[in-house]
Amino acid sequence: MSVAQGALAFQELTAPEAFHEALATAAQHAAEVDRHSRFPSEAVAALRSAGAFGWGVPQAYGGAGARIDKLSEATFELSRACAATGMIFAMHQIQIASIARHLGDSLWFKNYLGRVVDEQRLIASATSEVGVGGDMRKSLAAVQPADGPDNLIHFEKRASTISYGAHADDLLTTLRRSPDADSGDQVLVLTHLADMDTKPTNEWDTLGMRGTCSPGFVVRATCLTDQVLPAAFAAIAAETMVPYSHILWAHVWLGIATDAFSRAQNFVRAQARQNPGTIPPTAHRLAELSVRMAGFRALVHEAMDEYMSLADEDRPGLSTIGYAVRINNLKIAASEVAVEACQAALRICGFLGYGNGGPYSVCRQLRDAHSAALMIANDRLLATNAALLLVYREGK
């Protein structure tokens, strides 16, 4: 699909040219964003102009009410152009869904979602923490009563990574519910970065996904008790944050792999044009890669379809062990095939693929794809599934 066709699919959310502009801007700056490990501010500004940060907000609060299928498509298209931009868009929509699907009767959060649409606010998340061993379902930092009125709370957290933390407007943080709560008894708190004290603890200079600018931070805030989402994080994680993350991330990785595939295909076609009448040997490798890409797409789309069918009608179904196993499987499989696909594209393009520039370079794609296995380490998910499969009889 060309950039123009990609944009057409979003005409119900925004003017087609607005999303077209965001895709073109993301593509134009992708190499430079990667080289300098800098925030893709031009593409993010173009997304703001397209109103994209309000797409996942329900229509009742002034948003476009886009479901996960549309958000996935947008994530995929953006990631073909610039994976960092795609990941930033995806992570923002994950935070929106986590709020919108679990805000209960909270007037504060209903009002907040309206502000996200009007002001095109960008939300980052602080779910990681130094000292919990990468387990998002555990927190050390807790909601503390603040000095002053009863409706004020305070927290301080050492987050091991906050993607685009220095460039977002708001932050969604996991914390223990109270100073004496168990490490697994967590809540989510939304705070405005302008009112917070934040300090980066390291530099983000990484192999790939360099434009997401995701160093560690120490974050401190004082806010209203109203800014604590009413639902338990356990339910938010199982019903929304984990499936949204794995499905949208998988679309980022599919976008990266599809970009690498397109570059490999263009390379093979250029070779074929040099020797009309013959099929270049790389064409066979491309055909093999095409099979893998078909499997990759099927894997990702099936997981999205299952979530779509459960998301509204069968929320308890999302908290079952069987669903946890399947959504973890999606993450593990998609993160591995993304790297394999980029590697296969590199073999096809040869040294033109290995170079850091030019139309057949797949370096950035391969480096970006390597982040996939680390975002919630695959080994952690395999260990979880190993335990779950002791009781769950897989039949689906």
């Binding site: 379902r137 356990a234 199982a238 179904g317 079952t320 062990i321 002791l390 009889r393």
Partner: protein, 94 residues
């Protein structure tokens, strides 16, 4: 609905057995003297891993198998919710 004394007694016995399995297998640090049947085990620190250990131990203790649709957070939330699930399975068997 009025329950027969027999049913009520059987229920309490079940809950006591479940409570003991939870104590031995759910890996919780809480004070069991203060735990009641409605205590939220997840809020008390049960992880997804320890919930699996608990499920296996319950299957052994009651000689049952939880069907896949019962393998959910809400079923293993408390002694009460586990007892309701096990009672359902026992009735099915009878």
């Amino acid at each position: 609905m009025l329950l027969s004394t027999e049913t009520q007694k059987a229920r309490l016995q079940n809950k006591d057995r479940i409570r003991k399995v939870v104590k031995d297998h759910a890996g919780l640090g809480l004070d069991f003297e203060r735990m009641d049947y409605s205590t939220d085990l997840y809020r008390a620190g049960m992880t997804s891993y320890s919930s699996v250990v608990l499920m296996i131990a319950l299957e052994n203790e009651f000689e049952i198998e939880f069907p896949d649709h019962m393998l959910s957070r809400s079923v293993f939330e408390s002694v009460d919710s586990i007892a309701a699930a096990i009672e359902g399975l026992q009735q099915e068997r009878e």
